[in-house]
Symmetry: D3
Subunit: 284 residues, 6 copies
């Protein structure tokens, strides 16, 4: 993560901690004295690609700037069930107060990285790349996109201000592919490429003639994608191509073999299944 992300991460962790701690951890405050010390460790509950350790460390160090995490696996590493991912030692009340937020982050981000990695491995040997979408959990886009990257995927737009993608809903209100592409090219085409959704030969030719730089094939069959990819490259060698829509671990290879540059998989961040991680605490 670069410094911009670090600053944003810091703010987010603060929000997450406030959400869970409110006025403070009643249980720990009522049963422990401040200076009880303990050790804690994160243990993988299943096979997974680790992601979110940096975020978890931030959780604890925000509660106690002295406390740090010793990691035994780095973000992006594959680990088996039972693996001790990281350990820490410090005041017991700090470990107990940060436990839930840290686990919620590691479990979700590791799940995104793990799933992404399955998609990436499913298309190994093809020329396509797996990318995410904007179907992320509200408020967690940056972290989830980080996990996608850690899992070997590529990040698509971070927001509506991060590139031009003209989809069917835009085309409908703009009055067709041609006027939409022409307008986008005229107004913003200087540094931005124009990506347009097309479903047929005719639409593809219209888009290319109007100046489209990238073509998006959404909700088509792999064989339809293959035909359109071939046509597109005949018209403009090196033109960008993307496919999307109901991509699953089962069908992703068929889509990859259809030849597009990028396969956008909403499932990476939408499915949200978490992987299991345990946090075990022991007194000194």
């Amino acid at each position: 993560m670069n410094w911009v992300d670090e600053g944003a991460l810091y703010s987010q962790i603060a929000v997450f901690l406030r959400e869970d701690l409110g006025r403070g951890d009643l249980t720990t405050q009522s049963i422990l004295t401040r200076n009880t010390r303990a050790r804690g460790r994160f243990v993988a509950g299943e096979t997974m690609i680790v992601a979110g350790l940096e975020a978890a460390e931030e959780v604890f160090s925000m509660l106690d700037s002295q406390l740090q995490l010793e990691a035994f696996a780095s973000d992006g590493e594959a680990v088996e069930a039972g693996k001790v991912i990281a350990r820490t030692s410090g005041f017991a009340d700090v470990l107990l107060a940060g436990e839930r937020v840290a686990l919620n982050l590691i479990e979700r981000l590791s799940a995104v990285a793990t799933l992404t990695n399955k998609f990436v491995r499913a298309i190994e040997g093809t020329t396509a790349q797996i990318s995410d979408t904007r179907k992320t959990t509200p408020g967690l886009r940056m972290l989830e996109k980080y996990a996608v990257m850690i899992g070997g995927g590529r990040n698509h737009r971070f927001g509506l201000d991060d590139g031009i993608v003209i989809k069917s809903n835009h085309i409908v209100v703009a009055g067709g592919i041609e006027p939409a592409v022409v307008a986008a090219k005229k107004n913003l085409g200087h540094l931005h490429k124009i990506c347009v959704q097309v479903s047929t030969d005719v639409e593809l030719r219209t888009a290319v003639n109007a100046g489209a730089d990238v073509l998006l094939f959404d909700n088509l069959l792999p064989e339809e994608v293959a035909k359109l990819v071939t046509l597109a490259r005949e018209l403009i060698p090196g033109i960008g191509t993307e496919t999307a829509g109901n991509i699953t671990l089962e069908n992703v290879r068929a889509y990859a073999e259809a030849g597009p540059d990028l396969i956008r998989v909403g499932e990476l961040t939408k499915s949200g299944t978490v992987v299991k991680v345990y946090f075990q605490i022991q007194p000194f």
Copy 2:
């Protein structure tokens, strides 16, 4: 939602919109003029319990205070695939700018409500109630707990400051069940009940003798839960009982029939599976 939640919701939606919009929607700005008008409608993609319509409406009205959602289903209502849940009409750029955030919210919250409702229906006829946990998506706890309630579930603690629950990690560092319960009772037992995790007869008796008000049975088999529930009520009629740990749609009824008051299901908010909702736009 009460006014506190409303204020918090407003702030969150603003964060979600900023996350997706950044400096603005490049695509829409480059292809549409500001005063193009259109109609949009949300359509259920599968059978689901609707949740999050109020949040989706807030998304659009934050972008344009004039624009409102006309709902055809209310939060908590069961709908079939193809049902038009809500429709709206207004400036096309506003509909397109808010679409993704609104969908991300409706899909996730409806998924939580739908899953909760499956658990609730799975134990119909028993005396137990389904509740959520703190295993929520960081930043979305309030909204996810709202969806649990909408789905027929009950909300457990909103944060560490919202009740005392002494779990195994606390017991380990506090030096045992007895000192933990006694300390909690002495320091905070005036308005708060003391909930303690116990796994055996001996632990249960220790907890009750020390003054526990509620007992939590975590990661036990249904028959173990049944025995402990019976013992607890023999010792203190009316004492609170909860069970938790690896509860699934398959085994939840067995746990419910073991007799506890509450069944805490982390899966409600952890699984995160979204349901499918479409947003269709048409020009006037």
Copy 3:
């Protein structure tokens, strides 16, 4: 104070300093050069229980992170007039800029601690405890409740989300004690005890039968409180009991001898009388 309080304290001190300093200290800026150094010391102007030294230190260290307070008394300690409570040395403009805010905090918090301690000593030997109320200075609740604790008192609810207390105003709109208690118990009774205000034998029996966990006797005479406490314990041994309403240093012992667990004294934080503390500055 735990880390949650520390973060909140930091934010508050920043607000207090901005309130007093605005664009800066005109007087000091116009008469001193930045690098003039001086010593300052806080001297007790009367007999008092010290509270707020940590807050005062925060004031100065926020103005100059190098500057620290050397304390000669700790929060909670009783000191006589003339006692040097703390001293500090550093840039004169920092001492002069922070002086008023630091004094305003120490004087008020020490006053709360001192008054609380008088109430605590007035009931020594009884089984009752002194607690505060929510009648705190808007914006200073956390600090004032800290001072109450430092003075030997116990903290009651930190806010309306920190426990259920059904008072006469609630009973009136809920249509009686019974429906109010039953509803509270059903909706939130799992981890929260239900505290109810009762004034007569009949009300007390109604509350207990409906499931009340704690009884509040407000604005009654000591002898009435004594009778109700006795009745309550006959019905439910160990039930919680509180009294409140026009408690003064004169009558508090009579109320304590009536036997309740807790005596809520609004006066602790409402009276607001400050104690006198001096800040003396000397150049090197």
Copy 4:
């Protein structure tokens, strides 16, 4: 209040409400349905000058923008015990949620206004005016100074950036009255008057010669003040004069008759005694 104060008031009330409500009013939420309506009224518990009604109204309207207060007394008006100051009607949960914050504000601000008014009346017929100091409750300066004004007093500096007052602590580190006044005059004397604390004839002459515009007599006897006031006006007709230090309702008239323009009374906002106001709720 002008618009700057209104904006600041709004922000403060939000802070006060968050302090008291946290995640919401547990009691009301658990016993009432959202649409129960009720009437509430504020009743004076003793003779007082009313202050803070506008703030109280803001409390309720922030909870429910529809709800308004109907005032039967205006800020600054003297009322007797039993007088209904204001009434309101609306949702019962809103009245109950706002009650404590509204009362805490009205009681404290009315107490400041009432006490100020006693001081003002105590010196009626003299040429002096009563003013406040910076010895205000941290975070409440604006509101408390408003109450002083409402009670007939005059506001002194709102902060260290709101005028130059050279006190003994400044003189000590600046190396004397002369260098302090000369520096202040040179650096900031263009639009700001220079106020200096003096205790003797010699100091007064030094200050005047150095260019002081206003003289402050702190911790002197009334007869000493009278002598210095006379001397000051002999030297510079129309020069400003202030007195301060241990001013009480008993001795304030003696100080006023000594002839200063302004009497600074820390007690106005330091004493903090609240007056009693009741909030009575009735269902429809």
Copy 5:
């Protein structure tokens, strides 16, 4: 402006007003009663393109939501000295409090629009377009870029996250044009075009071969730009071309006639010369 800009504008105006008003307008508060009404009008002091009226209206309506501006010229319109641009009527204290901030905005933004327009007119008839740079006043980028657009110019990047421009400083640290372009294309070339600074034929060919989409000619003579533009289009018809560096009203036409698509003029926002606008107030 779209809604994102509107929200941002609102926040900025609030900052600007706080900067100028602090605790309030001493002069107006001390000489006027709140309900004095007056009329105000903005009058052009010289020939100019008007910009910032919407911002000025926001200034006043933030001080008094009732008060509105009646505009007699719209943003982008050319007016002569003496022209009444807008008028307003309302409380005199509001007009006086907002005057300076409103004028500071109108004067600066109109100056940017006016200067931009001079550049635009200077190249009329050529195929080039005038664009701004990131050399904007810190904190005013959005407003200044709005003024550039109003003056007929085109907006270049809004920030470092809004497009890829590889300049000499980047090339130096990346180890040459080729590795820089190749890396950028591989990592972010999917939706973003790659713009590279080149100064010679060799650099241009290297950049084009590496995959550059847009070429930037910085600090070259018009004849050098002409040669490179020609070469670029021979290699890739339709490739983007930009020129920048010391562009003045005197030399801009020579650069435009050299044929680039875009001429980046730092001067538009850097020079900052304001145009003169008067605000005249009259009582009713």
Copy 6:
């Protein structure tokens, strides 16, 4: 700068960086690895008074707390073209990310200091002083006034709450000079001097009789100013005098020789001309 300014500066720099960086520096992220190191240096492009180095250092250290600037000139120092003002070394991506914001600040602030210094030198030998006005860039007042001071000028009011200046617009709505001055003196004259705009002998006498402490001569000829200054001092020796309105480098000496204490020059911060500074980066 004192600590108040430092805190404010820190917040502002954060805003400026967010404005330029948004989600991050696309160019640098795509072409550099995080650990590439480089050296950078600021070089004066023309003769100038340096200002803003502290702000520039803050820019870089906010991006990387390890990175610091080594200055070879201090704020206020005159340097020639070619002079290396400062150098720094660190991660290349940090230098490239902060470059533009740092340059924008140094160039503008140095321009203000340089221009101020020209005015100051133009009146050397007279008794007048050059001061700024409130005609500053919205959002940059503090920094621009700092640059004025660095250039040898004097700061006038920081905001409308920082002194009383009654101008023609105020006089018009207040109904004349006399009522305006009398009201200001009565309400706020205790610590604040009253400054009033007058244009004629009659107005001057009216103002002085009403109690004005400072006189402002706006938009008059030098000879008119000279006459009024003389008259004012005849009436009240030592009375404050200011002149303002269309002051240029050409006419400022004539105004200074007319004898006023202060000459307010809006041009100092209004003209906004930046001076040229280069930032050169080299890899290690």
